[in-house]
Amino acid sequence: MTTTPAPPERRKRFYVADGDGFVPTGLSTSPWRRDAQNGLALGLMVVHTLEARPEAKAGKLARLTLDILRPAPAQLTRVAWRVARGGRRVRLLEAELTAGGEVAARASALFVAPTGPAPEAQPLTPPGALPQDAPERLIMPRETGLLAVRDVTRKESPSGRQSLWLKLTADIAPGAPASPIATAVAISDFGGSTLRDYSADWAYPNMDIAVHFSRTPRGEWVHAASAPMMLGHGVAVVDHHLSDLDGPFGRAHQTLFLSRRQKAARA
């Protein structure tokens, strides 16, 4: 699991800057359509542009939601954030992501700026297993820019939750490594991996990601303990419990749309 970081100029990246926008690289390609961007990359770009805002420095992110409205073409991508509601202690930002000039996704971010004293913190309990405990179980090729390590599958887990660690080895854009919040949003896009036992017969893309924070995450590694709630009604709602190496920092959900795969007709 020990990897020597590449020098900054040689690190891979999901996007390259182009004027006031970003052009996706091969790392951002959708697994379903070569001419579209994948949802994980869109989430990274949303966080990258959000963290450049002054509100991100003045407050703490409490919630981030992303809705993908249509496939985002693999073309020049821009994210325009605006303050939808600006109070002293609570700020709501909303964004439209355009790709190739078309609106492809919407996002919202809720920031809080608490004033005065805070209650005494609850104790943090680190996750039971650490990423180095399961170095053999990469679930994505290294060329994807992701170190995604599953140490426990749902079947192996007494709680029925898959255990997954994620670290980004590629930058979002040149000189812009993924922040802990960006990594948290990225791992929240992995809900489909909880339905791998159904993958022969079902497709299950997601069109949304919602992340709720109880504190600011830290470090390069993020952990998700994840399970779907699937009650036979067209969707599965994935429930992610998020932690960093110090302990829990939030929850996330995805709505997965189930549809039967078309069986290839035999010649």
Binding site: K60, R89, A118, P119, Y198, H212, R215, V237, R251, L258
Partner: protein, 255 residues
Amino acid sequence: MSAPAFFRAESGLYHPLQPATAPWTRKHQNGAAAGGLLTREIERAPMGAPLRLARITIELGRATPLAPTEARSRVVRDGKRQQLVEAELLVDGEVCATAVGLRVNEGEAPFEAPAPHGLPGPDEAPRTPLTSVLGEGWPMQTRVVRGARDEAGGGAYWTRFNADLVEGEAASATVRAVMACDPAAGIANGASRDWAFPNIDLSLYFARVPDGDWILTEADAEQFGEGFGLISSVLSDGEGRFGYAHQTLLYSKPG
């Protein structure tokens, strides 16, 4: 004499009644009332195919005054498989609370039995009020089955409403689920009761449409000294678990 209600609809406005009062200020609407009205507005939005609510995100960061309220909605993205709808509440022309709802169609999917909650049913637990306004008996009945109001740690409670949201109209189970989990901070708040901790948002995620009168909210709070906290709830009806809810709490010392 009609049933008691949170709002009376009159001349295109919703007039808040006593059950809609906020516990913190008494000059504003509580989250159950405002959240319920926003959810109802999203459910009333036009749709081209049968759809049901899968996710709703409600912003309560700005208090809605206890005054005649306008509710309106707008379809942001329309489709047969999914639809995104925005709703807002206005008082005197000013936007106070907003919501975004994701509606999806009822397709097929495998069924996995959810883990049982393992808690007593609503008839097996004592009647206990959760907040000073939403008391036991009227306008909502509550049965605490895990934890207690003044204890640290999380808890769980059953809720049944015996007041309408809008006078003379039966609220949907989806609307009642939103209203039921809003007072979760009464039992799970991550701090002692000498703190104020209003929730500034409320988000729900539905794996199916809930059913029946009673809703169970199993709530736990995380708070790590940054001045805000997160309530995470698992929601059930009489048939079992059907969804999740979250609330962001903002802590302050009153006075």
